[in-house]
């Protein structure tokens, strides 16, 4: 237990940095704890006093309005004080190091850091550096991990499909650059999903991706057959410029999720997307807004899941 930097000496979650290496019991505890928080967000007063007096710093070294907002809402619904720092445009540009920034904020009595950084491993570095009473949540680091996104996906899947043990799940799109995909794969396999597929052109797959325990497909027609859950990934526009793909039109033709391609999956298959969506690139609007889409419930559940993570960390 002690060699996992995410767990304290009692085996409790101390930081949430990645879904990799976390036991199923911890992942399930987060999902179970999120359930009652869904109800809280449906009340008149959408707030509980659990983290009253705690200070949570959103450290965003890479811009992300959506993720930062969901963490901010989650923290506020727990009655914590939230301080948002967009460091891309502040001290880092003045030459301050990452750890100097963190030291300064620790001196302001931070209780928790939510970290988004373009460099893989940034949240780990901060977690190793801070005092033991401070908790770190990775809100996305480079190509490495985005654990709360994966957990909210797991929560959404469990809500719709009840059980992980009889599912066939396909992750579709830019696996190579996706921290979301990596975190999803670790979470799905740990929770006992028997068949995880990745579907992508060769240029958007990491080498030896099979080692993660997934089945590789390059063809949507084969890969989507009899699938219960489709997890679409965002195609980042900058990937086009790097010449890994000929054009967005061609990508849509082969890998964009249209109603015709969706029909290859099981009739009750659900479609997830972490957002923001590129309509007409990785997903057709008819599918994104269709009855099999759970994209908006994902956003709602994302708040409850982040509330659960924050409360579990603050209480450990």
């Amino acid at each position: 237990m002690s060699n996992n930097p995410q767990l304290n000496k009692n085996g409790q979650l101390q930081h949430l940095l990645t879904t990799e290496g976390l036991p199923a019991s911890i992942l399930l505890n987060i999902l179970d704890t999120a359930e009652p928080f869904v109800g809280v967000t449906e009340r008149d007063v959408k707030k509980v006093p659990l983290l009253r007096g705690k200070s949570i710093f959103n450290l965003f070294f890479e811009p992300s309005t959506r993720t930062r907002t969901t963490f901010e809402i989650a923290a506020k619904r727990l009655s914590a004080d939230v301080i948002n720092l967009n460091i891309a445009v502040s001290s880092q540009s003045k030459g301050e190091t990452l750890l100097d920034t963190v030291n300064n904020l620790s001196a302001m009595h931070a209780d928790m850091f939510v970290v988004r950084h373009a460099q893989s491993g940034a949240a780990h570095l901060i977690a190793q550096h801070v005092r033991p009473e401070i908790h770190v949540i990775n809100a996305g680091d480079g190509r490495h991990a985005h654990p709360t996104q994966a957990l909210l996906d797991m929560f959404t899947i469990r809500r719709r499909k009840r059980d992980f043990h009889n599912l066939r799940v396909a992750i579709v799109g830019d696996i190579l650059h996706s921290r979301v995909a990596r975190s999803q794969i670790h979470a799905l396999t740990t929770l006992g999903v028997p068949e995880v597929r990745v579907i992508a052109p060769k240029t958007l797959l990491p080498t030896k991706v099979e080692r993660l325990g997934v089945h590789v497909y390059h063809d949507m027609a084969k890969g989507l057959k009899d699938v219960d859950v489709l997890m679409m990934l965002r195609l980042q526009n900058e990937r086009m410029l790097s010449a890994r793909l000929p054009s967005t039109e061609e990508y849509f033709k082969y890998y964009g999720l249209t109603p015709e391609k969706l029909a290859l999956a099981k009739p009750d298959a659900i479609v997830l997307h972490p957002g923001p969506m590129n309509r007409g690139v990785e997903i057709d609007s008819v599918v994104a807004d269709g009855k099999q889409s759970v994209i908006l419930p994902q956003v709602t559940f994302g708040i409850a899941v982040r509330m659960a993570v924050m409360s579990i960390l603050a209480g450990s």
């Binding site: 359930e35 109800g39 008149d44 707030k47 409360s311 209480g315």
Partner: protein, 169 residues
């Protein structure tokens, strides 16, 4: 020590509450024992408003010491709290801290017209100025012991006494 029969106490409690209810009375049980009692009260008193349930974990005052309780159940208040007359139901009334948390949580659903408290057993030991309007029985229980309500396979309720491993109530 000799414990009273929970079913006998529930009959006493039901009779006492019956005097004080009207068509706009709602009952809300506190998880877990309080919900079992509230289900029975709701049925036997034939209350019109739907049954409510609270898990007060997000409102407890010991979060800073012991963290989040495992296995929190969703709270469910399926009636309009604003202006309602609520009877809050718990199994064992002890320090009063759970009741304080429950009252705070109820107010996040709206402003009730009144809240009364019913408990199967009052074991004394209050640490807050909380009093019950309806009690099945008063019982002296040593501080090192924990008194808990259990539900048997046949649905009947039963009281048990445990050694306290950790500060539970």
């Amino acid at each position: 020590m000799q414990l009273p029969e929970a079913e006998d106490l529930l009959a006493v409690l039901t009779a006492r509450i019956r005097q004080g209810i009207s068509s706009d009375t709602a009952v809300v049980g506190i998880h877990t024992g309080g919900v079992w009692l509230a289900e029975r009260l709701h049925r036997d008193l034939q209350l019109a408003l739907p049954l409510g349930a609270l898990d007060v974990s997000f409102y407890r005052d010991d979060f800073g010491q012991i963290g989040l309780h495992p296995q929190i159940r969703p709270s469910d208040i399926p009636f309009k709290v604003e202006g309602s007359h609520i009877i809050l139901v718990d199994d064992v009334l002890y320090t009063g801290r759970t009741i304080r948390a429950a009252i705070n949580e109820l107010f996040d659903y709206g402003r009730p017209a009144s809240i009364r408290l019913a408990a199967l057993i009052d074991r004394g030991g209050r640490e807050l100025p909380i009093a019950a309007q309806y009690i099945g029985a008063t019982l002296e229980v040593p501080p090192a012991k924990m008194l808990a309500l259990e539900k048997k396979a046949d649905g009947k309720l039963d009281l048990s006494l445990y050694d306290k491993h950790q500060g539970n109530e």
